[in-house]
């Protein structure tokens, strides 16, 4: 069974960072990548994120499912952008350079293609980092560090609890769906999407009911062992912040500053190589 939220335990410097550091860095990094369309900056971020992927020892096959999913999404997104506003790039860069003798509405322009390149780089700069966060953060350790940066422990704990029960729920879903199929509910690709959704809903009811039963048991189990007794709790998986944590956060903060500075220097969110032409 494929677990989407897969923590993959391998020794690497990125795994050794605390969950909170990784979370803060993820936020800062995404802010930096989101705020600008500066091609040079995005290219550097993209290259850096690939290097970090290498460092983290996460392999392509570990994340192939999510990666191919985002890739399909990226392609569709690009096609849609092109179809709906093929001249978007020309508006942004305030110039039009036709690449072919044909000059109709859908004619390819250098500006539009350059815009798509930026679009692609933005994905490249962010997606690997998100995957990296998911794959290298131990959920319990993440909960403990969320608590450390000020999130209430009951909230932080529910994050790790949810992750704890995902495999259970997946297994149950599988079992219930098999039993339902035996009773004649068609789940295979042979039937149309409406019927498949209907079938899925008949599985959801028993799934929800059995999960509700469990929630009562779990919350009792937790209370019986003193959860919620005090305002604070300690964490078995907690790690102290160390020098690399601080360094990483500072570097990511600098990235945000650079992104903002570039926006000011470029005079807009876009880096425009067509100005000189």
């Amino acid at each position: 069974m494929n677990n989407l939220f897969n923590y993959i335990d391998r020794p690497s410097p990125i795994h050794r960072l605390t969950g909170a550091t990784k979370f803060v860095c993820l936020m800062l990094w995404s802010a930096a990548a989101m705020s600008t369309y500066d091609t040079r900056f995005l290219a550097i971020l993209g290259a850096a994120s690939l290097v970090m992927f290498k460092v983290s020892r996460i392999k392509y096959k570990d994340v192939s499912f999510l990666l191919s999913f985002t890739f399909v999404f990226l392609i569709m997104n690009n096609i849609l952008v092109y179809l709906f506003s093929p001249l978007h790039g020309c508006e942004i860069y305030n110039s039009t350079t036709y690449l072919l003798p044909y000059t109709g509405h859908f004619a390819p322009t250098a500006e539009q293609l350059f815009y798509h390149l930026n679009y692609f780089l933005k994905y490249l700069a962010t997606i690997p980092i998100v995957l990296l966060f998911v794959c290298t953060t131990n959920p319990s350790e993440f909960a403990s560090s969320l608590n450390k940066i000020g999130v209430k422990y009951s909230v932080a704990y529910s994050v790790s609890l949810a992750l704890r029960y995902i495999p259970d729920v997946q297994r149950q879903y599988h079992e219930i769906s098999q039993a339902s199929q035996a009773r004649g509910i068609e789940m295979s690709r042979k039937t149309n999407i409406v019927n498949r959704l209907k079938s899925a809903s008949t599985i959801l009811i028993p799934l929800i009911l059995t999960s509700m039963d469990r929630i009562e048991v779990i919350s009792n189990a937790m209370e019986l062992r003193g959860f919620g007794k005090r305002d604070k709790r300690t964490w078995y998986m907690a790690h102290p912040f160390r020098r690399p944590d601080i360094v990483c956060m500072i570097v990511c903060a600098i990235l945000v500053v650079i992104a903002i500075a570039l926006n000011i220097i470029n005079g807009s969110r876009f880096y425009n190589p067509f100005m000189q032409i």
Partner: protein
């Protein structure tokens, strides 16, 4: 001895109920005592447990009269957390009790909540994990553990608190027989090592009595009706009268008209002292029953040849060269350890897991090319937990669902659901919502909804898990009945009693192979198979040895036959 826990004229009533669930309870538990609480479902055992661990009144609201004190302190004046410092509870479902992502975190849970810092946190976890033998599993996730290991972790999780009273709520449910035996040993060990008092709630009496307990408390309809030593209780007939199954050797002695008295030490098959005349009586009983006849040959229904199956390509196979033949009209038990391949085997037969090697034929027809849906018209599969199968609100709709999805006419649906509901004894409930039914009744709904498709065979996964003796008998007699009407029944079970009593034949799985396929009596008395498949010998066999009956297997076989033909028939008539 110091008093640890004391109920004085204690009565409790849930807010939602019109009658009290616990009536006039008087019970004292001393330091270091080990007590077994037994009683049929609905007798108030769970409520009693909840009163002790504080879930009543903190999670379940109600009104109480009388007094409950822990170490002299009135629990009404204590907080849940204060109580949990002296009382540790191991819940029935050790899967749900497992809160942490890994073994270590789960053991540490109570300490974390108590703000225990490093290095004490890690040290205590290591120490306690060593005590219950899970120290090599500290970084394992719950899904990677066996049922017995999970339970060890649960025990460790409450032991970190230095509690003085340990509560075990049906610790043997969901464990295979041998693991259950280890669990009883573990509980005994933990109690002795920590000096904590132990209260076990369990209806598998014989299994718990494998290790000594000081007292058995028998509950019935909210009251404590007996509170005495096992030796005393087993000499009486109170257990049977109140719906609790006696140990099998006791039943056999009673059938033989042996007069059991407390000074015979009947609490244990190893301690019981039988006089020569008692032995003679048992021997006479054995001689008086005829050796059951071999049944004649029947038509082959399901033939499985050379099935090998792995969940993922390249992984080691879960089923290895399985060959099995089930005849029409048989009632067969499939037994073996957790993870031996029993469930996988039934899933492969039902078509849930395609991609196996080998051949399955059903009533002479090729089964391999059929889909799940098509196979379901021949073989029905009933999951262990009925809640996993029920997706409609009303009983009628649920039972009719399979036919409706197959596009049957309304007329056909009406006649077939009526038939199925009547067989399952649910006809008078037909217009009820399913939520109003008990667990056992829900189980029948799921069986009824399978029966509408008129399968020739049904497979049940643990048909009686978590049921008390009365419901157990109800479900099993019902299965026997549909079996007599011609439906072939295949049961996956851990329950040795069930196998002995109801199955004609048992198929034993171990590590993906079938290691035995024989009558239940021969299997349960074969020490090699018992050991390899984590089964448990029956005390009947030992009784036979004690009474110098050479053919122990024959004794077991005759005892079962006597129960089936003489006793059950008499009881049914009564």
């Amino acid at each position: 001895m110091e008093e640890l826990l004391k109920f004085e004229n204690f009565t409790f009533q849930y807010n939602a109920q019109t009658k009290p669930t616990l009536i006039d309870i008087n019970l004292t538990v001393h330091k270091g005592e080990k007590i077994l609480i037994a009683g049929p479902s609905g007798c108030g055992k769970s409520t009693l447990i909840h009163c002790i661990n504080g879930l009543i009144p903190f999670s379940y609201k109600g009104e109480n009269r009388g007094r409950l004190t822990i170490k002299g302190k009135d629990t009404n004046k204590m907080s849940l957390f204060e109580i949990s410092k002296s009382v540790g509870t191991v819940l029935q479902d050790s899967d749900a009790q497992f809160v942490g992502m890994t073994v270590a975190e789960d053991i540490a849970f109570a300490l974390e909540n108590d703000c225990v810092g490093e290095p004490k946190l890690h040290d205590t976890v290591n120490e306690v994990a060593g005590l219950v033998n899970v120290d090599k599993l500290l970084d394992h996730a719950p899904t990677e553990l066996s049922g017995g290991q999970k339970q060890r972790v649960s025990v460790a999780g409450v032991m970190v608190d230095d509690v003085e009273l340990l509560l075990f709520d049906e610790p043997l449910a969901n464990l295979d027989p041998a693991t259950g035996k280890q669990a009883v040993e573990l509980i005994d060990n933990v109690g002795k090592r920590t000096g904590a008092a132990v209260i076990i709630v369990e209806h598998r009496l014989e299994d718990v009595l494998y290790k000594d307990v000081d007292r058995i408390v028998l509950m019935y309809e909210g009251r404590i009706i007996r509170d005495c030593t096992p030796d005393e209780l087993l000499s009486e007939s109170a257990l049977k009268e109140h719906g609790i199954r006696e140990p099998l050797y006791i039943t056999a002695l009673k059938y033989s008209n042996v007069n059991i008295t407390p000074d015979m030490k009947p609490g244990h098959i190893d301690t019981i002292r039988l006089s020569d005349s008692d032995m003679k009586k048992v021997f006479d009983f054995y001689e008086s029953i005829e050796e059951p006849k071999e049944r004649g040959t029947r038509d082959k229904l399901l033939e499985v040849s050379d099935i090998t199956f792995a969940y993922k390509e390249g992984h080691s196979p879960v089923l290895k060269n399985i060959n099995l033949c089930i005849d029409r009209g048989e009632m067969v038990a499939i037994v073996g350890t957790n993870g031996a391949g029993k469930s996988t085997f039934s899933k492969v037969i039902c078509g849930f897991e395609p991609g196996y090697e080998g051949k399955i034929t059903f009533a002479g027809e090729d089964f391999d090319s059929l889909s799940i849906k098509e196979r379901a018209e021949h073989i029905g599969f009933v999951l262990q937990n009925p809640n996993q199968m029920i997706s409609k609100v009303m009983i009628m709709d649920e039972v009719a669902m399979g036919l409706r999805l197959r596009g049957a006419s309304e007329e056909e649906i009406a006649t077939k659901t009526e038939q199925a509901l009547k067989i399952c004894g649910l006809w008078k409930f037909r217009n009820w919502p399913i939520s109003a039914l008990s667990f056992g009744q829900k189980k029948r709904v799921t069986i009824a909804s399978i029966l509408t498709l008129e399968p020739e065979m049904i497979i049940l996964d643990e048909p009686t898990a978590g049921q008390d003796y009365r419901h157990y008998t109800e479900i099993m007699d019902f299965l026997k009945e549909i079996n007599e009407k011609g439906v072939t029944v295949l049961m996956i079970t851990h329950d040795m009693h069930l196998m002995l009593e109801y199955a004609e034949r048992a198929v034993v799985f171990s590590d993906g192979r079938i290691i035995a396929d024989d009558t239940c009596a021969s299997i349960i008395t074969n020490p090699d198979i018992v050991r390899e498949a984590n089964l448990k010998e029956t005390s009947l066999y030992e009784l036979a040895k004690d009474c110098k009956i050479e053919d122990g297997t024959g004794f077991v076989r005759r005892f079962i036959d006597y129960e089936r033909t003489v006793v059950n028939v008499k009881e049914r008539e009564a």
